[in-house]
Amino acid sequence: METLEAIRTRRSVRSYTSEPIDDADLQKIIEAAASAPSGGNRQSWLFISVCDPKNIARMRAICPGIVGIPAGIIVLCLDLQGQKRENLPIINYLDIGAAMQNILLVAHDLGLGGCAIGSFHVEGVKEFLKIPDHMEPVLLTVLGKPKSIPSAPRKKPLQEIYFHESYKEK
């Protein structure tokens, strides 16, 4: 799939079949996440995949943002590097966002549906997945074979959100 086509046709998929995710596909997805740009090439991230249906059921119990039953969950964590979460530079969080977008695009290219999830209990997820104190789960990405694909959501017209050379008041 062409990159632009993948970007244009990707949707946030929230309903999945029970088909598991192929190991080779999961590997490609994680490699894509780890290939994302990061400020100063810090790569201060860590990815944890959860594919056992029992563990997915348990994760759903502490992650209210997960709708439907995905075949896999990828937890994107940030290394706090000895700092408090609120003191970390915003670029560290943006790096996680870039990794998440890579995950969603490659998953889409592989015929999987996915959705980024921000509604989950951070400490609960840390406890359940035995994530060390210096790592902070920032985002989840849920994946699976789509049962249904939502129609394209309305996007703001470029005239509203894009200016060339300088900003112009409307």
Partner: protein, 95 residues
């Protein structure tokens, strides 16, 4: 489904509801509506898989699943929920 399994499934639902309640302190208010709908869907799924379902409950589950997977606007969602409440109220007269 064995009783222990039902108990475990219900515990997962309890965990979901408590986590949702905590999350709503930090999340948009309208998420509360969705969490209740999702919790209902999860409960109906447990009822179905543990042999506590019937035609009415199965239909209700389909409608709830449709509700939580759709991207209805507020008005359409209110109408859909109203319709479900009326159906349940009618059903309750016969139970």
């Amino acid at each position: 489904m064995e009783l222990t399994e039902i108990k475990n499934e219900l515990l997962l639902l309890v965990s979901y509801m408590i986590t949702s309640a905590r999350g709503l302190y930090d999340e948009p208010e309208e998420y509360g509506i969705f969490r209740l709908i999702d919790a209902t869907g999860r409960l109906l799924a447990i009822m179905e898989s543990s042999g506590m379902s019937d035609d009415f409950i199965a239909t209700l589950r389909e409608q709830i699943d449709e509700e939580r997977e759709s991207s209805m606007d507020d008005d359409a969602q209110k109408r859909h929920l109203d319709m479900m409440v009326l159906k349940i109220a009618k059903e309750l007269q016969n139970r």
